[in-house]
Amino acid sequence: MKSKRRSLVLLGALILLTSALLTGCGGDDQKTSDTAEPVIDVRPITSSKQLVMPVASYVLTAADEKAYFAAVNLAQRRCADDFGVDTSIPVAAQPAQMELASPRRVGLVDREDVSRYGYHLPPTGENSADDKAGGWDPSERELVIMRGVDSGGEPQETDAETGRAIPEGGCSAEGFRVVDEGATSPAASDLVMTILNDAWSLTVADSRAQGAAAAWSECMAKNGYEFSSRGEAGNSVMSEPEAVQLRMAKLDLQCAIDTDYISIWYAVDKAYQERLIDENEAELQAGLAEQREVMDRVHGLLQEGA
């Protein structure tokens, strides 16, 4: 891992010069297009809470997602009731979809968390352990009714006790069908995820982001480590003792701060997301409308079940 310093200054300067020419320094006649790198607005980022994803405007809130899963669970239980099964299938507990996308999207950001946990994510509370104690322990019949397969994984189409047809995928899938009615789930928007994917791919290839990565690499090289990308730093110590990991995490973050890596990468990512949003505005609005329709059903179901 340790090695001689790599001379990346010239490369970084060249990339930054190119990016400056592409991002508006040339005056009004420097117009952007779908293929040109977008203009970026670099602002200081000191907390992952500042990493707001523009595309997050097209998903509902974490509270909505929580209500959605409560309604799905209610629909799953009602389906089971129809078979005379009192299921104990739990309500889903998981991070909201936008929480998955933002805190570590550009690597380590939060100095306090890094000083305590290094590369590890901070514990998230009640669900952080996720152990099986007190978890779902269905009987064989409940399993068949809820999942449409037996414990050996064999699909079951008919309930042996009642002779009734089991919904495809069991009552667990039926609950989603009842609530979603084929619409975009408030907990998993395909288009939003696709935009996040594509924005990331564009960010990685962007000259401004690459310039920041080169500057970060140079900073790490000054400290005796040779990495071509930020992710390599964490991977290089993942099997090392915690103290070693912690030292690397702190250095990784310090170099990111010193080189404006986080601010630049976020600005680039944000700009590409905004471009992709513009290109897909109608479809995004339609998806959002679908999610709101789903939430209308969610609130109706929860009121009925109260």
């Binding site: 570590r104 994510l121 669900n127 699909p155 995928g169 667990s172 899938a173 993942m238 099997s239």
Partner: protein, 139 residues
């Protein structure tokens, strides 16, 4: 809008909803997926390419939490290669009472671990097993 990147999520044959965030994924058509038929959005696992949490990740979604027993497989993916996720997993997270068992080869051949509870905060895969996963079960 280019949708090929989300091929894994839209497979008609897939019995669970999969997403990759951010992602790279090639055409997928024949990977056998364990789990109940029908799409749901309950997250059961997330695999990350990089230990620092940046870059690409693989999210597996299903219709129900995993059961207490690990004698059966609640979910699985027999071939990560066709989604360009072969031998890239470094960090694992599991949710909704699921544990993860990873295999070196496709079709659940050569177990690298038993069932491990990585938790929602997750942790790196065991020493020496980085970038070696080709298929996995969740239970």
């Amino acid at each position: 809008m280019k949708r090929v990147l989300f091929a894994a999520a839209t497979l008609a044959a897939a019995s669970t909803l999969l997403s990759v965030t951010p992602a790279f994924a090639g055409p997928a058509s024949d990977s056998v997926t364990v789990g109940p038929t029908g799409s749901g959005s309950i997250m059961v696992s997330q695999f990350r390419q990089l230990y620092d949490g940046s870059g690409y990740s693989w999210v597996h979604r299903g219709t129900a939490a995993c059961t207490v027993s690990t004698s059966n497989q609640d979910y699985g993916r027999s071939n990560l290669n066709i989604n360009d996720w072969n031998d890239v997993v470094s960090y694992l997270q599991d949710y909704n009472q699921c544990d993860v068992k990873v295999f070196q080869d496709t079709n659940y051949e050569i177990a690298l671990t038993g069932y491990v509870n990585y938790g929602s905060s997750g942790r790196g895969i065991a020493d020496g097993l980085n970038n070696r996963t080709s298929s996995y079960y969740l239970s």
